[in-house]
Symmetry: C2
Subunit: 390 residues, 2 copies
């Protein structure tokens, strides 16, 4: 944890440990607890549970269950455990909180446990979910990897669920070109799930973020997988389903994205393949057919308030946190330089410089050329004080 | 030519040879000639050309060209030549004329040269165009064949252009299950084009129809191929594009179908295949993604005035021409019988019985079970005088 991470800028006081505790108490997506939080705040909700002052909307049995979990919750220990594995807790009110999650209303996550150096808010600003079948075909894995690589090369963050099949191909495709990728888990961020993806999740955390609603140590359940999907849908500007059988879980994520006003996209395949039946069904119903990163960006780029990013940076340069602004200043007006040169110019470590460069890439200020970095053309104009059309 | 073909019932008098002559004079889809025909009738237009009384809307050079062709036209010889190869000339006003072609307005064909025993109007009543790339992939040929076979099994007529690739696979798929199929050519019906499809076109004529706007002996040109596509689009209730590169001629047919209010459908494929790029583009623009005959029928079945066919015959039984009614009467109330038994019962030849059975299948009265025929369940109810919901 360094002072330059935006999340640390505005701690919400006593609310933070209370929210951390409640991630151990309430299941993800619990609307009743979400309403209590909106009405009373986390500290009051946690106190009510611990003092057995029953809140409205739950049965006696369910209240007793929540109360039991609240009694056992040890947020300070969880926060320390998270710090021990390089993770932190990000919650509403933090500068790092991705505001688009507020669209979930009472189903908004209580907070997110985040492992990795980048700002969650920044990397999620221009992000797309690439999801699909676990038991995918070679075609599906190929397309997911190529698409994610091309999206990452355009400065888009690829968000997925770290499952076998399409999810893994999506993360790997982004990692292969040095892009940012976010894995949203249905268990604690300390849990490598699936176990075979321990190495993949470590690489994702190194170049992007591993994110979970559940506190360290929690294991995934069927319900948690479904709720995890709503976070993927809400975090991103659009969801691309690459392969899915009819009645697959990926279709649930996709339809949630549509309901949240996000771009809903699907990749077609042979009509002779059962693993394209779900994506074809989506296209027949509501999804836009996509086959390339350009088509994905065309759709997702126009969603939400930040569409103007397509022609320039997502936020004005003046609003950048000082560490990011220093890294941006370290880039030459023309030409590309390596991360070491940027780190030297910004007087920070190579790792911190890379994390800021990835954020600045997501924000549309810089772009990667091989293993070097340069100012985006439009960003350079902004930096020079010239109008975008100059 | 037999008395039971509906086209022979209402001959339009002197208009018929004049229209036959004009198919030799005007290029397919000539809107100026189409307007003359609507205003004056074919006999007057032909007389004006032969007597050099210039009609409005054409340059002196073009008038001279049309006049030269009119002077050389020998409609009686063309009609005799057509009869010699088992073909006939069908034009507006004939009972066999497919009324949906009138949607083309001044671009309506002057008439159609038709080779084969079935009624063009009847087989086209419930028909779908299956078109696509000449240089198709194995996947495309497989899907076109399977789809066309399944459509033919449901009593739908498959219309295509007899080209190599998707077109041929579509005709063959329908023929393989004994279904009706219509090949619309860009040359005379006596010309096997492409030459390698002589055998295929003979089989299409034997079990369905070979149709052309151009009189016997005419050869195809690029412009004639494009105009042929408008006939395919207008004749059918919908067009399915199976494989097409970007900027392919099949996309032109498809978009014409859409403009004519016909169902516009496309089959997806791998996004890695250039031969699916055109169908994906169509789906992104306006086409409905389809992958099965059920989905095609769902779309095309609801187009136009004849949607009620889906739940019963397209025309009331009373309106059937006597030969068709006799064949229908020869079918038992329950169970399936062979064509020989039907022919014996209707006191006609096996060939004539089969032509009527195929028409009745297109009209929704009968259905094929292997090589036997039976009354459709809904048609049987109509025949019994029971309401459809009984």
């Amino acid at each position: 944890m360094t002072a330059e991470r935006p999340g640390v800028g505005h701690p919400p006081g006593a609310e933070r440990p209370a929210r951390a505790a409640l991630t151990r108490v309430a299941e993800p997506g619990d609307e009743v607890v979400g309403r209590w939080l909106a009405d009373l705040g986390a500290t009051a909700v946690l106190r009510a549970l611990r003092e057995d002052r029953r809140l409205p909307g739950v049965s006696a049995d369910r209240w007793a269950g929540l109360r039991g979990r609240a009694a056992r919750a040890e947020p300070e220990r969880d926060l320390a455990a998270a710090a021990g594995i390089g993770a932190r807790f990000v919650c509403p009110g933090d500068r790092e909180w991705p505001r688009q999650l507020d669209d979930l209303g009472p189903r908004r996550p209580i907070g997110l446990w985040v492992r990795g150096a980048c700002s969650l808010r920044f990397v999620a600003l221009r992000s797309v979910a690439v999801v699909g079948a676990r038991a995918c075909t070679d075609y599906g894995a190929h397309v997911a990897g190529e698409l994610s690589g091309a999206l990452a090369e355009r400065g888009w963050t690829v968000v997925s669920g770290a499952a076998y099949g399409i999810d893994a191909a999506a993360h790997r495709g982004a990692l292969a070109v040095g892009g940012a990728t976010v894995a949203v888990l249905a268990c604690g961020v300390d849990r490598p799930y699936p176990a075979g993806h321990r190495g993949l999740l470590d690489r994702v955390a190194a170049c992007g973020l591993v994110v979970a609603e559940l506190p360290p140590g929690e294991h995934p359940t069927r319900g948690r997988f479904l709720q995890r999907n709503r976070v993927i849908a809400a975090l991103t500007r659009g969801t691309v389903v690459v392969e899915a059988a009819r009645r697959s879980g990926s279709l649930v994520t996709a339809r949630q994205a549509g309901r949240l006003g996000r771009a809903l996209m699907a990749v077609p395949g042979p009509v002779t393949s059962g693993l394209s039946a779900g994506t074809h069904q989506l296209i027949r119903e509501e999804a836009v057919l996509v086959g390339s990163a350009a088509e994905v960006v065309e759709m997702a780029g126009h969603m939400g308030e930040l569409a103007r990013e397509e022609t320039g940076p997502a936020v004005p340069r003046d609003l950048l946190a000082p560490p990011a602004a220093q890294v941006l200043d370290a880039l030459p007006a023309a030409g590309a330089v390596g991360a070491d040169a940027v780190a030297a110019g910004a007087c920070t470590s190579r790792e911190a410089a890379l994390a800021r460069l990835r954020e600045l890439s997501c924000l549309g200020f810089v772009e990667r050329v091989g293993d070097r970095w340069q100012l985006c053309r439009t960003a350079a104009r902004h930096a020079d004080g010239l109008p975008p059309d100059a």
